[in-house]
Amino acid sequence: MKGMSLVLAALLASTAGAFAQANTDVTIVLGEELDLVEPCMATRSNIGRVILENISETLTELDMKNGGQVAGRLAESWEDQGNGTWRFKLRPNVKFSDGTAFDAEDVKHSLERATSPDISCESSRYFGDTKLSASVVDPTTVDIKAEPAQPILPLLMSVLTIVPAETPIEFTRQPVGTGPYVLSSWTPGQSIVLDRRADYWGAAPAVTKATYVFRSDSAVRAAMVQAGEADLAPSISVLDATNPATDFSYPNSETMYLRIDTSVPPMNDKRVRQALNMAIDRAAFIGSLLPEGTEPAVAIVPPTTLGWNPDIKVPEFDPEGAKKLLEEAKADGVPVDTPIELIGRTDNYPNATEVNEALQAMLQDAGFTVNLRMLEVAEQEKLYSKPYLEGRPPQLLSVLHDNAKGDPVFSAFFKYHSDGRQSGISDPKVDDLITRATAATGEERAKLWSELFATVHDEVVADVLLFHMVGFARVAERISFQPTIATNSQLQLSEIGFKN
């Protein structure tokens, strides 16, 4: 038996060389395959992780290492011209991977392409109802005008990927960008290979070649790094993060909360919503079902976001208090005994089912009647967004919200404005705050957002905010890579170094 296994091992070892690689090549294993390599879809995390800032660059980028400041990338500087127009000075001597030079025309075309009704580009979602138009001033200067005026236009430019002016307005399978890497092969379902460019405008990154492979099972991804088949698994389940030497946690910009539809009794009663908040022992989750590093949330956006309000307190765990509130409400005729549906999403995050089961148990301990339903993504989506179904029972949607963009504008309207698609409240003060904050700039903007968060959390009690989530990355010992809050949506190969 032993002899046989030796022979087998030798046989396999002889072929194992095939997947050992040159020192500066890396293999990255991702959970979700790319269905497209289209630059204007790079805001979708599965695509962005591969191509954003690796193949396609943007005018600006969020610098997470420095507290989430907007920094220039293809733009060297920008200024507000007033009247909603911003002028961007572009970086000179930048070449696309097809050899053509980068200039203002490319920016104009990229913007038009991304907002064209002829293709469904996702990045345009960040522009909302704002109409953007670009005009070329000179080859290195471009004016971008927003109607209505958009105070955070430079931040918005961090989602606009720049493609050559020749790119047709249809989804491309051969993305051309100004980034340090070029797509050299794409075998759908199996792998994508990026090669380092020689004529990149910036400093050459250490990684010469990156191969992306896709495994939907977290255990397999973790195993691949452990077995040396891959160097980096940017996202593994906490359950597989068993080796402190290779597994790093990072805040992944997702916030877990229970969305309440406040128009349905008994949820229309603030005491009931407060009771919901008090019934949950947030601390009990951390380090058990959810990994260490998970933070109790008081806002729907992560702490690195503009206007984060440190004064808001996490609701106290107080099941007795919750019971008392419920009794009070009951005495006032609020139908607190109505069964509430807690609606979770299968595989939303590791342990999603267990977390929801635990939430259910805690709510029930505080005197609520809660039925748990775990739904598939599309089914939950149907309940999550307006128009809500007629005659719905009181529902708590257990969902994640992701905002890595550093400004609450990408969340506030949708989640809290009366007209927001996923909003469960309708409050004139909140609506007013959102409108004003969206139009404001600088200190004023931050102040307004802070006020909004406090109002939503303490006055309105709009929802049950739970946790800022963390993700885990498994990093092979031979490379150095520090995952950040941005890792979920982009993974710059230039940030990967080698230890020897």
Binding site: F19, P117, P188, Q190, D217, A223, A227, R421, Q422
Partner: protein, 304 residues
């Protein structure tokens, strides 16, 4: 024989048409791809635009008419997700599934037939009991469970095999082994049962009276007679594999049609679902035809 094949193909075509109609309307009951395709904070205008671009605003019957019209021009539509012809996406994946199915079923066929026949010959003896026991355990364990344990054991602890993915022959060992277990367990039992029956046939007596050795009695005289039910079951199992070994493909990162199908279903990528179903259904019909031809080949009495 040709007439038989033609008749069968015609009947299969009817089934195929029925299948397409059924699937076309049923999948549209499961929701709108717009909600899944567009981000959750997409504006209503974007949603409207997307629907219009993909013809989702038309009445169902119009959409169906358009689909059928395109189909008649061999256009299976584009994948919403992948922005390329659905049939290309499906065929790429199908090649992998086909390889996986063919390799697995060939191994199953050979091993199950040999071991099952020997079990029947030695019915009740230790060999029979051991093979039955092992094949039963294998066939009763959830396959994803076996798959993960196999990866942990062979790839991580022993380091013999790659965990997953595609490439040289060693990449095939784990997925094929995991896929192999269940059909093998079943078919071994079918072969065994059928062979036990056939071994008590009068013609076996004749062969023994002629002085034929045991091996040809089992593998020449009896086996061919016992193969009819076995071929039927094998066909069913192969059909299941062709429909996509979802679990194995998911875990081992095999870009097969099962994984594609589940992704397409979850994303409501209707054209991919339809194309995948048509391709696999066609393959299954073709295989059923081959099975019927195998009957003819195996048993001259049916040829009349």
């Amino acid at each position: 024989m040709l007439r038989f094949a033609r008749k069968r193909m015609l009947a299969s075509l009817v089934s195929l048409v029925g299948l397409v109609i059924l699937v076309f309307f049923l999948v549209r009951l499961t929701g709108d791809p717009t909600d899944l395709y567009l981000p959750i904070d997409a504006t209503d205008a974007m949603r409207e635009q997307f629907r219009a671009n993909n013809g989702l605003n038309d009445p169902l019957i119009v959409q169906f008419g358009r689909y059928v019209w395109d189909l008649l021009h061999l256009d299976f539509g584009d994948s919403i997700r992948r922005a390329r012809p659905a049939i290309d996406v499906v065929l790429e994946a199908f090649v992998w599934t086909l390889q996986l199915a063919v390799i697995t079923m060939s191994l199953v066929a050979v091993l199950a037939v040999v071991l099952g026949s020997l079990c029947a010959f030695w019915a009740g003896r230790l060999f029979d009991r051991a093979v039955t026991f092992v094949s039963l355990i294998g066939a009763s364990a959830p396959d994803f469970w076996i798959a993960i344990v196999a990866i942990v054991l062979f790839s991580i602890h022993l380091g013999w095999l790659p965990t997953s993915g595609t490439g040289g022959w060693q990449f095939w060992i784990l997925p094929v082994s995991v896929l192999f277990i269940r059909p093998f367990g079943l078919i071994v039992q079918v072969v065994r049962g059928s062979m036990i029956g056939a071994l008590s046939s009068p013609y076996v007596k004749t062969a023994r009276a002629k002085g034929v050795k045991n091996r040809p009695i089992i593998f020449v005289h009896t086996l061919r007679n016992a193969m009819l039910p076995v071929v039927t079951v094998m066909g069913d199992q192969a059909a299941a594999l062709l429909n996509g070994a979802v679990v194995v493909e998911t875990i081992f990162g095999f870009p097969g049609v099962g994984k594609l199908m589940i992704d397409a279903i979850l994303q409501r990528d209707f054209n991919v679902i339809l194309a995948a179903i048509m391709v696999t259904a066609f393959a299954i019909f073709l295989m059923n035809l081959l099975i019927d031809l195998a009957y003819l080949l195996l048993d001259p009495r049916i040829r009349a």
